[in-house]
């Protein structure tokens, strides 16, 4: 973990009201894994005060070296400010943070479930495991078409299934249907999305009786991102209390419910 300034190399609205921000990759982010996150300070002074937690969305080789990106919807002052950054602007970053996804080395079939903006870290995971020659199916779910990450931006080797609640794109319904269908096929599953989605996935996984390992990447309101403010508590099924930022954000789904 370090605090550093990262230079913006590209800022764009990518789809619907979802933005992508590309930044130059500093030494501090040399070793990172999909599912890890950063805290971004969204302003110059003390207001807004706290950083915003953002999963690392993707990596690429830019014209002047390696770059990383975040994918976000505008939900408040912080993300509004981020969306207004332009090439050459500097953003203060604390990272890398948290424990990311841990695909088992020998598994061949990976099922990725992204609900809404929760697809952000899964895109990078899909890039990585597809490049390793493993089979990847990525389920992208949203309320409507405007919330779906454009499938053509993914590597051709990644099979994409889209679900929308209003049926405007792909299957009508939620991600739980393809999850249920594909659970027997996969060796390991990875999910990121809103909290109710995890509850629904857990219910499907439990009913299946297959005991497939499902790694859940939680989103939580964070103050610091590295285990000192105790904002992002989760209370696992077996008791106790964990911090999403420090003990996660990746948790075994079975440990949560």
């Amino acid at each position: 973990m370090r605090r550093f300034e990262a230079e913006v190399t590209e800022s764009a609205r990518l789809y619907g009201s979802t933005h992508v921000l590309w930044l130059r990759r500093e030494d501090a982010l040399r070793t990172i894994t999909p599912g890890q996150f950063v805290m971004l300070t969204c302003g110059e002074g003390a207001d807004p005060l706290l950083g915003r937690a953002m999963s690392i969305h993707r990596l690429r080789e830019g014209s002047a070296g390696p770059e990383w990106s975040i994918l976000f919807d505008i939900v408040g002052r912080g993300t509004e400010w981020l969306s207004q950054r332009r090439d050459g602007d500097l953003v203060r970053v604390v990272g890398p943070l948290g424990r990311g996804f841990e695909p088992r080395p020998r598994v061949q079939r990976l099922l990725l479930i992204g609900g809404g903006i929760g697809c952000a870290p899964l895109i990078w995971l899909a890039d990585e495991v597809a490049a390793e020659g493993r089979e990847v199916t990525l389920v992208l779910g949203g309320r409507t078409e405007a919330q779906i990450f454009p499938p053509h931006l993914l590597p051709p080797a990644v099979e994409v299934i889209v679900t929308t609640e209003d049926g405007s794109l792909g299957e009508r319904g939620r991600v739980t249907a393809p999850f249920e269908r594909l659970l027997p096929w996969c060796d390991q599953a990875f999910a990121c999305g809103p909290e109710p989605m995890f509850g629904a996935l857990h219910e499907v996984a439990r009913r299946s009786g297959l005991r497939k390992p499902v790694q859940a990447l939680l989103e939580a309101r964070m103050g610091c991102g590295f285990g000192i403010c105790y904002s992002c508590a989760v209370f696992p099924r077996r008791g106790g209390v964990k911090l999403v930022c420090h003990d996660g954000p990746m948790f075994d789904l079975r440990d949560l419910y």
């Binding site: 973990m1 005060l49 706290l50 309101r221 103050g223 000192i228 209370f235």
Partner: protein
């Protein structure tokens, strides 16, 4: 340049800090996470997460909300309990040079005594900070800090049960902090921490509900600095024990201002959430300021902003 300060000059066991920059309780965990990344021994002092007799899971979420230039928290004393602190944390602290101070919070007066007794003589524990000001727990905490007689009882109880030097952390939620400060000093507190978060509320208009699960919380961050400044000024004008400022410091210049108001040391709290290196940065900035101003000891500026009356 000597930035050193003794927070317990009247006690047989000193609490000597090599500089006045400390961490604030509840904003540094127990230091073990941060120590993996930064050199804690450069700091003046470390204060633990608020510690209770038994472990606590803390309050439900949401526990924090950002507000203009600040935040409101209601963590509810999530902590590992004094036994785990003694067996798992103190042995690590014992390897450090920096004095580590345990913030203790009891539900009753005897619990404060028990906590003090348990921590007495534990290697790695350099002192205590007695919390009589937490706004986020049902019993104890704040109620001891709003009544001089109750505060005196807690302080006497702690003094009877430990030979460790101890600070007493006061609340800003009083109409006048001076009577409490005087009562604590008279009862044997070795230093004051001024102060804690300010009880506050934020409403979420979308949900038409309070932002926090517990409704109320405590406000911290740069928004509260002027309030802390006034209380440091007032408290340090009526007691002759050291006053440690806690509430709103974000920079080395803030540290300078608190010392000018009468503080002996300054705790860095919410600033660490934004920048894990904040305590170290504040220290660097303080040194640079002293150098630029030709200040060689903080005694030269301590309380200089106070008007004698």
């Amino acid at each position: 340049m000597d930035l050193g300060v003794n927070l317990a000059p009247r006690h047989k066991v000193e609490l000597r800090l090599r500089n006045p920059v400390m961490t604030a309780s509840g904003t540094f965990s127990n230091g073990l996470e941060i120590a993996r990344h930064f050199d804690v021994d450069e700091l003046g002092g470390v204060v633990s997460k608020g510690t209770t007799l038994r472990p606590r899971r803390g309050n439900p979420t949401p526990r924090t909300v950002e507000t203009p230039a600040g935040m409101i928290n209601s963590i509810g004393f999530q902590n590992i309990g004094v036994s785990a602190l003694i067996s798992n944390v103190a042995p690590v602290w014992a390897q450090w040079q920096v004095p580590c101070i345990v913030n203790i919070m009891g539900d009753t007066v005897p619990e404060y005594g028990q906590l003090a007794a348990r921590l007495d003589g534990i290697p790695g524990v350099a002192g205590l900070e007695v919390n009589i000001s937490c706004p986020n727990v049902g019993v104890g905490g704040l109620e001891f800090g709003q009544d001089p007689r109750a505060a005196r009882e807690v302080v006497s109880e702690v003094a009877r049960h430990t030979s460790l030097p101890f600070l007493v952390k006061l609340t800003p939620s009083v109409s006048d902090i001076r009577p409490i400060a005087e009562a604590v000093a008279l009862a044997g507190g070795h230093a004051l921490t001024v102060s804690n978060t300010i009880p506050a509320l934020a409403i979420d208009p979308k949900r038409r509900q309070p932002h926090l699960a517990t409704v109320f919380g405590g406000l911290s961050g740069p928004a509260v600095k002027p309030i802390t400044m006034r209380n440091v000024y007032l408290a340090s004008s009526v007691v002759d024990i050291p006053v440690v400022a806690s509430g709103g410091a974000m920079s080395g210049l803030d540290v300078v201002e608190f010392i000018m108001a009468g503080a002996s040391a300054v705790q860095i709290g919410t600033a660490s959430f934004v920048d894990p290196e904040a305590p170290w940065r504040c220290l660097r900035e303080l040194r640079a300021w002293c150098e630029a101003e030709g200040v060689s000891s903080l005694d030269e500026i301590r309380g200089v902003a106070r008007r004698l009356d």
